[in-house]
Amino acid sequence: MNRRKFLKVFGGGAVASSAALYGCAPKNEPGAAVALGEVPTDKMTYRQHPTNGDKVSILGYGCMRWPLKQGSDGKDQIDQEAVNRLVDYAIEHGVNYFDTSPVYVQGMSEKATGIALARHPRNSYYLATKLSNFQNYTRENSLAMYRQSFRDLQTDYLDYYLLHSIGGGNGIELFNDRYINNGMLDFLVKEREAGRIRNLGWSFHGDVKVFDYVLDMGVKWDFVQIQLNYLDWKHASGRNVNADYLYGELEKRGIPAVIMEPLLGGRLSNVPDHIVARLKQQRPENSVASWAFRFAGSPDGVLTVLSGMTYMEHLQDNIRTYSPLIPVTDEEKDFLEETAQLMMKYPTIPCNDCKYCMPCPYALDIPGILLHYNKCVNEGNVPKSAQDENYAKARRAFLVGYDRSVPKLRQANHCTGCEQCNPHCPQGIDIPKEMQRIDKFVEELKVNG
């Protein structure tokens, strides 16, 4: 069971019981002051947009990982009550930036986000969404997507609008197809003039040539969204570009950076035990995740740091970290760089569970497989050979856990290698290659009982 599922089941109970304990503890005893204390409502750090003066909370709400529940038809649906509760809590505690996209959460994110936010005054938050025309980038379809965002988000203006994930596929050619040849960029610039879009920018993954090209193509960009965290700062994986370069280029031009993947989909909180120990030793009262958020929020040019918080506990932890943000010192930066190097020794697959690859047409649960694999890597349950000391234990943990995490018919051995997933992966993972590698590994475990 991963951390998320665990929290889902026990999180509520644990919070309730700790709250109860807190209530019972005599006030004057040592320890009664409970390590965590109240979640502050008025200490959030805000960053001012250099040109339009928007005061944006350093914690931004990423709406890509809303909690799901099973509908009566057996299909996933967003747990709207939970979303409302999370959004209310976030706004109460000073969060004012919400970032979504038409394609998030099986296409249900905008609607759910819209419902939750419509219960608050429109000027109490900033709304960000994207032109996610990955599949059909004709002008008509792109316009339809743009207009539907307004309807689903129940608004007549968007504070931040992004060209979604440029730099993928074959680079500049695809960028031109999606935004230039169909006239969409011109259209969006006009929409900005008309005030329906207050800030125009883009998010970037992949080919650095596209980053450089678009940055200097002569359009005024109000912001740019990049992947930044203490691992990607100098050690970007796959096709990704080191964040120190990306951020440096934006800083040079005075363009505010919106940060995505500060926690790498949980990979920077779900770390091997000795790294937990290392981080906790420095700041025993702060979470492992808080290091990643402090790092991502520290550069002055960062407007907001997005986090896709599925659970209340994640939201509360992040609010604590940023209320207020204590920027990382130079020593701490060096310490995190050393930590990054230690983490690099673990051959995890850089999947951040964004689910862009899904649904796989052949029904695999790609992120489920990769996450299980990573979990086993971190826990030392990926034996190198049958002669390994703890082979039997590791084998059982891997195989039993595999069946628990992923149903048999969605496991890696069903990958056809059709590669339809690959263009969607913002991290540039060669998914079929990894599937087949994991499948081979599983096969060896099964045969060598």
Binding site: V103, G107, T416, G449
Partner: protein, 506 residues
């Protein structure tokens, strides 16, 4: 004392044999797998001379203790009967043997064996009946219990328990199991060992022998006051207390009468010592019993699977075309291809050998961890194992079915043998392959073939860059079903296995 020993030994055998059908980890089999192999009928099928001679000698020495201790179906009836006796203590009475029913059942059984009607044999044989009851009715309960533990284990991040799929292998067999159980339960509840003494062919055969057993329960007429308590306690209804006679062909040596006799008139002793006791004269039996109470096991009720109509509700989607992130593609349920010959597990030697030796006890089906084996629905060999690859395939590291088979229908093989026995061969269905239907490259069959019998070749011989299709070397293919199970084409696989009548070694 003797009764207590009998109860202890019977509990031991019953619990462990039941566990053979329930345990999916293989631990019980490693220690107590022999319990299935000492069952009379399986041993006879396996031509296991040692066991058969042993059981014959056992019966000649001690009477039908086999029926009271070793046979799980007998013990199951005793358990049900024991519950019934909680309501009414002395509920039995002597009834003469239904000899013609017994012999008719035996004749039918032998004829069915010779004629190769495996389904009829499996229907009557006691061990098979118990096997299907245990594997169809008890195993799911056991597995659900395990899954509950696994659920909690998962929540504690423990790998001590893992959950298993609980599923109905065959509706027909399940139906027969339920029917068998209900009929047996009714018979046992009302009259104790009716099945054993009228239908069970093993009971009839051992009954012949037990008449000449060295040790028997004998009534000492000097001590007997004719109270008849023994007869009213006799679940085999074989004590004729008025005549101080015991029908040894039906007595299962349960020792209940010994403990029950307040006069101490019954003892388990050498027959010639108790020469005052006269055995029931066969000619004196008159068919006065109510025949209607005796029910013959009737044929099966095949429950036709109702096909679910997938009402394709075309929901009005938003008009924006986009690839939405997340979610799962639905999985169409696999459909079984129309195989010309059925697939039987490696070690079975041939379809004929399996049909001849298999008694349909479901033990192999119960232990098949890859969910390949399931009972056949063919009327002639109903309940005998057959392979299908919709839930898994015959994996190279598993030879469990061959290890557990008590009848020699599946002969023991090693893991090395397993991947060298050709039970069938793969066939490619051009029109279903996703290379042709989706225009997608695949090769999943080739990647998973354990014998490397599949190669991927360009579809268009003139164009080496065209998509690749699988070609099968049927000489080296063993028919394990990896390709069929892992083929992305659904509901029908684009590559499936045809069974071989005779298995070959490659």
């Amino acid at each position: 004392m003797l009764r207590k020993i009998r109860i202890f030994a019977a509990t031991f055998c019953f619990v462990l044999i039941t566990l053979l059908f329930l345990d999916f980890t293989g631990t019980i089999h490693a220690w107590f797998g022999w319990l299935a192999k000492i069952q009379f009928w399986p041993a006879l099928l396996a031509l296991n001379v040692g066991v058969v001679v042993g059981l014959v000698i056992l019966t000649l020495l001690l009477g039908r203790v086999y029926c009271s201790v070793i046979c799980p179906l007998g013990v199951l009836q005793d358990i049900i009967s024991w519950f019934a006796s909680k309501r009414k203590k002395y509920r039995f009475s002597y009834s003469p043997a239904l000899k013609w029913v017994r012999y008719a059942a035996l004749v039918v059984f032998i004829v069915a064996c010779i004629a190769g009607i495996g389904s009829l044999v499996a229907l009557i044989s006691p061990y098979s009946a118990y096997g299907r009851i245990a594997s169809n009715l008890f195993a799911p309960i056991y597995q659900e219990g395990n899954n509950l533990l696994a659920y909690f284990a998962e929540r504690m991040d423990s790998y001590a328990f893992y959950s298993v799929d609980v599923w109905v292998r065959s509706l027909a067999t399940m139906g027969i199991a339920i029917l068998s159980f209900v009929i047996l339960a009714i018979l046992a509840w009302r009259n104790g060992r009716t099945y054993c003494n009228t239908i069970c062919p093993v009971g009839t055969v051992l009954g012949f022998l037990s008449k000449y057993a060295l040790l028997k329960p004998c009534i000492d007429t000097d001590k007997c006051n004719g109270c008849g308590l023994c007869a009213r306690k006799c679940k085999a209804s074989c004590i004729d207390s008025k005549n101080h006679a015991i029908d040894y062909s039906r007595c299962v040596t349960c020792m209940d009468c010994l403990d029950n006799c307040r006069q101490g008139a019954i003892s388990y002793t050498r027959a010639h010592k108790a020469d005052k006791a006269t055995s029931v004269k066969e000619s004196s039996t008159k068919d006065t019993t109510d025949v209607s109470r005796r029910r013959a096991l009737s044929a099966t009720a095949l429950v036709a699977m109702s096909s679910v109509l997938h009402a394709q509700q075309k929901k009005l989607e938003d008009y924006v075309e986009m690839k939405k992130d997340g979610g799962f593609a639905p999985i169409k349920e696999r459909k079984e291809p129309n195989r010309l010959a059925p697939l039987v597990p490696p070690g079975a030697l041939s379809i004929g050998n399996l049909a001849q030796h298999c008694t349909g006890c479901q033990l192999c089906v119960s232990v098949c961890e890859n969910h390949v084996l399931r009972p056949s629905t063919d009327l002639m060999k109903l309940m005998q194992p057959e392979m299908a690859f919709d839930r898994g395939y015959c994996r190279p590291e598993c030879v469990k079915c061959s290890e557990v088979c008590p009848t020699g229908a599946i002969k023991p093989i090693t893991k090395e043998d397993q991947s060298a026995i050709q039970i069938g061969h793969a066939v490619w269905v051009k029109d279903l392959c996703i290379v042709n239907t989706d225009g997608m490259s695949c090769g999943n069959c080739e990647r998973h073939c354990p014998t490397k019998s599949i190669q991927m070749v360009a579809k268009d011989p003139a164009d080496p860059k065209s998509l690749k299709i699988p070609v099968i070397n049927t000489e080296t293919c063993i028919g394990c079903g990896a390709c069929e199970y892992l083929c992305p084409s659904r509901p029908y696989s684009a590559i499936y296995v045809e069974g071989h009548e005779m298995h070959r070694s490659i």
